[in-house]
Amino acid sequence: MSLWRKSPLLILTIFAFFIIYLPIMIIMLFSVNGSEKDYSFDSFSLKWYVEMFEDPQLFEAIRNTLMIATISTLIATIIGTLTAIGIHSLSKKNRTNMMILNNIPVINPDIVTGISLMLVFSLLPISFGMPTMLLAHIFFSIPFVVLTVLPKLKELDPNLYDAALDLGCSRFGAIYRVIIPSIKTGMLAGALIAFTMSIDDFVISYFTSGQGFQNVSIWIYSRIGRKSFSKGVYAYNTLVVFVTVVLLLISSRKNKKTIVRKEEK
């Protein structure tokens, strides 16, 4: 492409980055703002980073969020991987049908998923709170794990599994020793998506948590514009963004390594 065609595209791309990053930058700015007000910035201060641990309700919401995200990611990654292996071994027609079913929660707006789960859970003999929110997070995470693992399975030589069985592996032994190592990067990507989706989810959590059990998003929604809205949450969000960036850098480096290894072979 010649430069005169390229520069409008470049400018538009910079503008697009600007419009999606502006709110993140504003939150970062607020997180180090010494002022109590959101409309003035008078001094640099790290007090909100301390406040985040000192506001008991915010701290509890942060703890709940991380707990739900950790447990749901672990469970969703395991179930999602096994499910992907199952779906992969289906006939083409059944596989397509399962993938259509799998993609319903991905495409469905959160509000529809939220009320659907709320209605099903109200039929079950469990009370709304931590268990229902956890189930909901597992539910919306699995499809993403399936979507990241399946392409890795397609690259895998199907004879490897049969060879492992011939050589005396049990079914799950063969999955564990042959299939899992080859799809690790897909599982890792799926887990990363599941974790970040879980930490930031608002709508589905809101409909499935009932009263009393709050994650960070519900904490925010119930306090917007009120005095009890602690700016410690800006500090929390800024930390989450930094951790996500670091994790991404690490995982992209890992990816590079596996590519190099393939090339060496």
């Binding site: 595209l9 470049l10 538009l12 503008f15 697009a16 419009i19 999606i20 990053y21 502006l22 709110p23 993140i24 939150i27 700015l29 607020f30 959101d38 409309y39 003035s40 910035f41 179930i79 499910t83 199952g86 071994s89 399962m98 993938m99 259509i100 079913l101 799998n102 991905v106 495409i107 707006p109 959160d110 509000i111 529809v112 009320i115 659907s116 789960l117 709320m118 209605l119 099903v120 109200s122 039929l123 539910f139 699995i142 993403f144 990241t148 199907p158 599994y161 998506i193 970040t196 930031d200 608002f202 709508v203 409909f207 998003s217 925010i220 917007i224 949450v233 800006y234 969000n237 996500t244």
Partner: protein
């Protein structure tokens, strides 16, 4: 590997219970007086249909359709060129760039909405630069917010399709005498259509059903269909009325979903 088929079975059951069952439940609730929290005898009633003719609900539906259509159009006009540009970069850094483009989606959406909200008040941090906006309550505020939130959903599927595209096709079209414009219109654009369809739907649906975003950026003035549903289910506990409005929404979603499936059977453009 055929023997592993059995592993997919529990998931089928799980999905039927958590996807199909609630859909049927919503349908039943919308046309009956069933009390979901106190199951018992119920009869079929047509009260639900009155919900759909309430002026407030009609207004919210119109707002949802208008604002989500505009937001999707803006996202497409920005997102397609951006995806095209990022996919055309020769550098190895392009994977990193598209990841960075998606990254804000993984940060709390409510806080990002609040950040825009503070900027849209006349008295804001922008005063430091001598700028004062007064946008709260305008459609523009909602559209800027939606573009900022959903642009990555439009860009990523288009990028994935363009990135995988065989560039020799474009060279071939040029060898055969097509101009840059012609080869874009006749080769690149048709081949990227599945990405565009996914992107449009991944943008249209969340913007149509948003409720926290319009609530904050319109100062509570502009109601979208999501606000009505939230109100019915969470505030006034009018579950049956809410179910009827959800059914109307789900009909739209089903049409859109069938469109995606038609273009992309295994959901390869969804990630």
């Amino acid at each position: 590997m055929r023997r592993l088929r059995i592993v997919a079975l529990p998931y089928l059951v799980w999905m039927l219970v958590l996807v199909l069952l609630p859909s049927l439940l919503i349908l039943l609730l919308s046309i009956s007086d069933l009390d979901i929290y106190n199951l018992g005898a119920f009869s079929f009633v047509a009260d639900g249909f009155e919900e759909l003719s309430k002026p407030l609900v009609i207004e919210a539906m119109k707002n949802s359709l208008r604002l989500s259509a505009l937001a999707t159009m803006i996202c497409l006009l920005i997102g397609y060129p951006v995806a095209y540009y990022l996919a055309s970069l020769k550098t190895k850094k392009k994977t990193m760039l598209i990841t960075l483009f998606i990254l804000p989606v993984w940060s709390n959406m409510l806080l990002r909405i609040i950040a825009w909200e503070t900027l849209f008040f006349p008295n804001s941090i922008l005063n430091m630069f001598g700028v004062s906006l007064n946008l709260i309550g305008t459609d523009l505020a909602i559209l800027i917010g939606m573009t900022s939130m959903y642009l990555p959903f439009m860009t990523l599927p288009i990028y994935s399709v363009l990135e995988k595209m065989d560039t020799s096709l474009i060279e071939a079209s040029k060898d055969l005498g097509a101009s840059n414009m012609q080869s874009f219109l006749k080769v690149t654009l048709p081949l990227s259509l599945s990405g565009v369809v996914s992107g449009v739907i991944m943008t249209l649906l969340p913007s149509m059903t948003a409720f926290a975003l319009p609530e904050r950026l319109s100062g509570g003035k502009t109601l979208l269909i999501g606000n009505i549903i939230e109100d019915y289910f969470m505030k006034t506990s009018n579950i049956n009325g809410g179910a009827m409005i959800s059914i109307a929404l789900m009909l739209v979603i089903i049409v859109l979903f069938i469109t995606v499936v038609h273009f992309d059977k295994e959901g390869e453009t969804l990630l």
